[in-house]
């Protein structure tokens, strides 16, 4: 793409944002011109989202100014940003599920006194925008009935409907299949051609390469590089983003053993909007990492819940080491030797106000040495926590500190440590590196590989296709609760897996 030379529509100057002792952004400056796509590249925790929230007026910067179309933006006022023509698509959508697409798009723009007025005009405008930008979606469908990709289209339409001239997209592809990502890029190109400007936040290099004109790299809250995308390479961008060469763990050849967990035609009930499993058969073998890919919300939670003991099969059989699983609860799962790394470390992995010692024994408190005859042994808990902290490099003030003070990476290391130290035969790793910096991420991956080499059966669930492909010995794709056959390492391309993720290949097979 040729770098456009339109007028500057957005100028961030020397933005500094502090949260207590943490500096999230330091002296960040950024400009965006008309008809330009700028990619903001950085690891998790580099300060990308903070910066965007400043731009959108959700946070007030401690220092620095935001200028939109030459006008200074009053800090801490999202409405001003909206009115100035900034549209933001968050990682987590802000849609009312029980309303229709049209209602969601027009929400907040219609007068309170005559809610019916202009409805026909609104519909015409939405339909016009949808055709113009290739954003296919039924305006009368309720949002609850839409998939994630379609919801994102609604969010973009919402911004366009409000005459946004600057679009901010925060990790837009995290929830999309490879095909849906391509559609999104096509839409973005159309938007740019019509004079919109786009800020595209991502940590995926190939996407940045595919869509952006210019790339700005953030590391630890500062701008470390800025370049025309055409003038740089992926390796260069990765190095700038991380600040060092990345050593990807080199998996040794797998030595598969016996099946530790076997599912035969297992179904689980749907929970609210979460899909259940539909006739899933698979086995987790000792010494293998089995990867699961899929667009989020397609039954991953149900499968993870099943292994964690939170879900029970409503049909089909589950066998642990060749024997029926029996009464299935989280406690039974732990007793059966399943180590669980939950998807949500704040919500289900830890009790924030408990200290590290209490969190380290959260799953083990009911047995010796942590308790005897109903009495808790604090000393044993402390010793255990110190061992986990020491061996798994948990950076913390000590075992008596509340765990909510820890960073996500250290919290995850504690969870990892408390799981690994019990030498589980099966490991459920659900989104184990979400939100972690590259150091913690590499560490977690190494630990999972080491566990595999010790003979554990590992199930790795992740929304990051690249992560699953690089670590897994066997991959399943999941779509609407159905599981693909197992594919051995290296037999499938991302695009082929993508077809399974969208469900297209299931219909072919049927």
């Amino acid at each position: 793409m040729t770098p456009p030379s339109g007028e500057t529509v957005l100028r961030l100057a020397d933005i500094t944002v502090r949260f207590g002792p943490v500096t999230a952004n330091e002296g960040v400056s950024l400009t965006l011109r008309r008809g330009e796509v700028v990619a903001l590249l950085g690891e998790n925790g580099a300060g990308k989202t903070t910066l965007m929230n400043v731009l959108f007026g959700l946070y007030a910067a401690d220092e620095g100014t935001v200028e939109l179309f030459g006008q200074p933006l009053p800090p801490g006022n999202p409405r001003a940003a909206l009115e100035a023509g900034v549209g933001m698509v968050h990682q987590h959508f802000a849609l009312a599920e029980n309303l229709t697409v049209l209602d969601n798009i027009t929400l907040g723009t219609r007068s309170l006194w005559s809610p019916g007025a202009g409805r026909r005009a609104a519909r015409a405008k939405v339909e016009g925008l949808a055709t113009e930008y290739g954003l296919r979606v039924d305006p009368d469908a309720t949002v609850a009935s839409l998939g994630v990709g379609q919801r994102q289209r609604v969010e973009i339409l919402k911004a366009l409907y409000r005459d946004a001239r600057i679009l901010i997209l925060d990790e837009p592809t995290a929830v999309l299949t490879p095909q849906e990502s391509l559609d999104l890029f096509a839409t973005l190109r159309k938007a740019v051609a019509k004079g919109l400007s786009i800020l595209f936040i991502s940590h995926k290099l190939h996407e940045v390469e595919a869509v952006s004109d210019r790339v700005v790299v953030l590391r630890q809250g500062r701008v470390v590089a800025e370049a025309a995308t055409a003038d740089t390479t992926r390796t260069e961008m990765a190095r700038l983003m991380v600040g060092a060469e990345i050593a990807t763990p080199e998996p040794r050849p797998a030595l598969p053993g016996a099946a530790r967990v076997t599912l035969r035609d297992v179904s689980t009930p749907a929970r609210g909007t979460a899909t259940g499993l539909r006739g899933v058969s698979m086995s987790l073998r000792a010494g293998l990492i089995t990867g699961l890919v899929g667009v989020s919300g397609n039954g991953q939670s149900a499968l993870a819940g099943l292994l964690a003991g939170l879900e029970r099969p409503s049909a089909g059989e589950m066998e642990i080491r060749g024997a029926p699983s029996g009464p299935w609860t989280p406690r039974a799962a732990i007793a059966a030797g399943i180590g669980r790394i939950p998807e949500d470390r704040h919500g289900s992995g830890t009790v924030g106000d408990f200290d590290l010692a209490e969190n380290a024994m959260l799953e083990l408190y009911a047995r010796p040495p942590f308790s005897r005859g109903g009495w808790i042994d604090r000393k044993a808990a402390r010793a255990w926590a110190e061992r986990v902290i020491d061996r798994y490099d948990v950076r913390c003030p000590g075992p008596e500190a509340p765990i909510r003070l820890l960073s996500g990476g250290n919290m995850q290391k504690l969870i990892l440590g408390r799981v690994m130290e019990t030498s589980p035969e099966v490991i459920l790793a659900n989104q184990p590196v979400r939100g972690l910096d590259i150091g913690a991420l590499t560490y977690v991956h190494e630990q999972l590989l080491a566990a595999r080499d010790r003979g554990a059966a590992v199930l790795l669930i992740s929304e990051d296709l690249d992560e699953v492909i690089s670590l897994s010995d066997v991959i399943h794709a999941i779509s609407e609760g159905r599981l693909s056959p197992p594919f051995a390492r290296g037999t499938m391309t991302p695009a082929e897996l993508g077809e399974w993720m969208t469900g297209a290949r299931f219909d072919d097979a049927a």
């Binding site: 964690a308 009790v351 799953e363 003070l405």
Partner: protein, 348 residues
């Protein structure tokens, strides 16, 4: 101006803000007293003297604190598990009913046997009163705030029916009052010659036991985990519903002991005015104590002191004793605000 969370509030902050809240409350009360046309300094002195100025006053305060310790503990235990028991009043009355049913001659045993039996029976009745809402919560997701609150009125009407019917004292000259407990069913004095019954001793023991359970046992660990993060507790293999049921038994039982202690220790019979809202005041006590069982003892004595002191002051100074209610209400509000601010700071 906005609020920012403080990840690790300092000790000075955690103790200073509640202290500030109490001072603020005192100032509010002083202002009201001045409005009523009395001298604030003198009234404060009268309240203090009425609450703790003599042996009689002090013992009166401790007697009044006894049921508040029980109901305060009941609320603190339940709130710790995020089981919102607003029904300590009902549990108190059911405990009192159990005591009266068994203690007015039905069981003719010596005190050493009868009193423990009455206490356990009272606890069972109170536990049952909280188990029903707890079951509705765990099974059907019915909000226990509503059910426990409404059961208070049901319990009061039930007691009213009993006192007009089956439990009415035939010698009571028509008053809605139960027959008196037999002597074997009365709690002895804690110290011979002092007007303080064993209910107070029992309350202190209960507070110590609850503290040990919460900090040293598996049960306490589970209760705290369920209260702080039920999802994580479930994920870690804790039987969340069973924990709630055990908490309900403990909480309901403690509240019922307030009824047992008031009937067997203080009043000797059941009337409709047995509790002037001890169940509700227990919520204030528990909140002031930050749900800490030993703090409950201190808070209960403080609250009882304000009531007793205000009663005595109003006789002497002619300021209505409602001032005590206002004082407690504003103390609670200030405390809740102070606790919220402990973890937040204001930033411009």
């Amino acid at each position: 101006m906005r609020l920012e969370p403080i990840p690790a509030p300092s000790l000075a902050r955690r103790l200073g803000l509640p202290a500030f809240a109490l001072i603020l409350t005192a100032l509010v009360a002083m202002g009201l007293v001045a409005l009523a046309g009395a001298a604030p300094g003198e009234v404060a002195w009268l309240v203090l003297k009425g609450a703790a100025g003599s042996q009689f006053a002090l013992l009166e305060t401790l007697n009044r604190a006894t049921p508040l310790i029980f109901t305060g503990l009941a609320v603190a235990v339940a709130f710790r598990a995020k089981l919102w028991n607003i029904g300590a009043e009902a549990q108190l009355y059911l405990g009192a009913v159990a005591t009266v049913v068994l203690g007015t001659g039905l069981l003719d045993w010596p005190p050493a046997v009868l009193l423990p039996v009455l206490a356990v029976a009272a606890m069972a009745a109170g536990a049952l009163a909280l188990l029903v809402p707890t079951f509705l919560k765990t099974r059907f997701g019915v909000d226990e705030v509503v059910t426990t609150l409404l059961l208070n009125f049901v319990a009061l009407l039930f007691v009213s029916y009993l006192l007009e019917g089956p439990l009415k004292d035939p010698m009571g000259l028509g008053w809605p009052k139960s027959p008196p407990l037999i002597d074997e069913a009365r709690l002895p004095r804690l110290v011979e010659g002092l007007r303080l019954h064993w209910g107070f001793g029992l309350a202190l023991i209960a507070a110590a036991l609850v503290w040990v359970i919460q900090t040293r046992t598996i049960w306490g660990f589970e209760i705290r985990a369920v209260g702080l993060n039920a999802e994580a507790a479930r994920f870690a293999g804790m039987p969340v519903n069973a924990v709630l049921v055990r908490t309900a038994i403990l909480s309901g039982g403690l509240a019922a002991l307030a009824g047992f202690s008031e009937v067997a220790g203080a009043k000797g019979a059941l009337t409709l005015d047995l509790s002037p809202g001890f169940g509700y005041t227990g919520i204030i006590v528990a909140m002031l104590a930050l749900l800490h069982p030993l703090g409950v003892v201190v808070a209960a004595i403080f609250v009882a002191g304000i009531f007793v002191g205000a009663d005595s002051m109003s006789r002497a100074a002619g300021v209505p004793s409602f001032i005590a209610d206002i004082l407690l209400a504003s103390a609670l509000l200030a405390m809740v605000l102070a606790l919220g601010l402990t973890r937040l700071r204001i930033r411009r």
